[in-house]
Symmetry: C2
Subunit: 341 residues, 2 copies
């Protein structure tokens, strides 16, 4: 049985979307159990409404919520009645829980993972790894997207190792293509950090390294993993999101401009929805802090039920396929081989 | 008289677009003269065709072209019959020339500036500063967008000073709002470089510093200058361009999908062109390497006549309003005040 804890609070559509999404995942996976954390009465009522039995479910009462206005490190230590605090504590306990899924504050989730759960031995720093859609209708993982503003080449190498294993274990991508975010594609391009990281990653035969990638090719879908320091990874992630949203806004303004454009929009409605759907994070999974000793999947703050379902299944796959053990082994091998040299 | 040298080769639409654009600028500015560098017969024929007299024009024969396949540093030293080589040499000469406009290889142009023209005394490293359109139908300058992959806080401070002066002198922006690209908006955010740069820039009362800016807000048009190290600036610039292009590609595919969508597209045609125009670099100026001892404006490689015209006028404004002297003075004051402390 894979035991997943679902934080039912903290998202824009909580608790309903979180509960509905988790129940949907429960129905499709016979060896999955869900522990719902939040307001016990609300959860119980919703489960009854959904016709979900108590067989593979459990409810833990923690009705308080950590909001985006709370200071993350403080909230995760002091808000002891909050659903996220309790969820992390449960995962840390010896209750045999596998993972937490939460759509709450990213800062508080990362603080909880780093301060309470700790990292896998040998991992220098855990890295935040979201999944983005590509133009080839696939996905690409970006590692690190912002957990570590200051990085060295050993960290970038570890990000490549962890994210490569992650794509294999969580999304069944065979031999994931890994690229290094850089200012040009040639080997000698970039700053000192990129040059050192390129060397380390290209020498690691366990990684299917395809070389440097420019930011403009990020969404094309030619690679499965993009490795970056947390600063430029954050810039890449947010500028991509920002530019897509701004173009869509322009498009929307154009479509609603006058009677003629509204008629045109009507004819295109169904097909334009395809673009919107494609860019909707609800159709993809959440972000994971790779290298943590426990699995926590961060669903988008505006997650609907479908997104939560994807995140629960993502956590399920990660645990079922033993991602944490794989990272542990990979890091151990590297530490030993470094000591031999 | 402002004397501008126009490289007529090296762009996708050269030499016609370059000559036409320069002539258009010539017609609108009585104290502008243009020196065309390239194939003399081709240039002379085109000028006759355009009905352009010889009064404020000059032709320099240099029919060879530096292409994107040439190694920049080598080409700019050895291709002595190339239009770009000759244009840079002319600018360096004591012929009283003010600036070069070129749509040729960015690498070769930067190499020419750095190796042959040098920088303003006190400027640590020149920075590449392109102009991008914003959602408020204005423009934003990004400095540095890729000339310096490795930066320190003194460089970032100088980028802020130079780009702020640039927006004033080249585009008549009064008291330009300057932001620092960062992973969050709060003062304490970011890596060590950002923290140090934030301190320096915020203490400089000559800069209208509005604080940190996240990459997702880049196109919104709330600021006039975004300061970045060349690595993350390059990521920001290219990912923004890439994401916009990919969304437009999706849109195009949707519009041409079937008869119904094509009908819808027909109704929207004129208005959708507005989006395309908005994102067309031809409607904006070129990129400048700020901090160089001479002015060179790099037009986009696919520049049409309108873009070249804008670039010539950009160079004209930079020279007419004394940008180089302003940077020189600003840097001098700072060097002196640092020595006093």
């Amino acid at each position: 049985m894979i035991k997943i804890i679902v934080d039912t609070l903290g998202g824009d559509n909580s608790p309903n979307a979180n509960i509905e999404g988790a129940v949907a995942a429960l129905k499709e996976n016979a060896d999955l159990s869900i522990t719902f954390v939040g307001d016990k009465d609300v959860i119980a009522a919703k489960l009854t409404e959904l016709g979900c039995g108590t067989e593979r479910t459990e409810i833990v009462h923690a009705p308080d919520e950590i909001s985006c206005n709370d200071k993350p490190t403080e909230a995760i230590r002091k808000k002891t009645d909050s659903s996220l605090f309790r969820a992390i504590e449960l995962l840390k306990s010896d209750g045999g829980y596998n993972a937490v899924v939460s759509s709450g504050s990213t800062g508080a989730i990362i603080a909880g993972e780093v301060l309470k759960l700790g990292r896998i031995k040998g991992v220098k720093r855990p890295a935040l790894c979201p999944i983005l859609p590509t133009m080839k209708r696939g996905i690409v993982a970006l590692c690190d997207s912002g957990a570590n503003a200051d990085c060295d080449e050993i960290m970038l190498h570890q990000f490549a190792v962890m994210a490569s294993l992650y794509m294999q274990k969580a999304f069944s991508v065979e031999n994931p293509k890994v690229a290094l975010l850089n200012v040009g594609t040639e080997e000698e391009k970039g700053d000192l950090l990129r040059k050192a990281a390129y060397k380390l990653i290209s020498e690691d035969k366990s990684i299917n390294f395809v070389g440097n990638m420019e930011a403009r090719d990020f969404l094309k879908g030619d690679v499965d993993v993009v490795v970056a320091d947390g600063f430029s990874g954050n810039v890449l992630c947010k500028s991509t999101e920002g530019a897509c949203l701004e173009v869509l806004k322009l498009l929307k303004a154009t479509l609603t401009k006058n009677v003629k454009t509204k008629m045109g929009a009507l004819l295109l409605k169904k097909d334009l929805k395809g673009i919107k759907d494609f860019m909707d994070y609800n159709n993809y999974g959440g972000a994971v802090l790779l290298g943590c000793s426990k699995t926590v999947v961060k669903a988008h703050g505006s997650s609907k039920a479908l997104s939560v379902k994807h995140c629960v299944e993502q956590a399920y796959n990660i645990e079922k396929n033993g991602l944490r053990d794989s990272i542990d082994e990979a890091v151990k091998v590297r530490v030993e081989s470094t000591q031999e040299n």
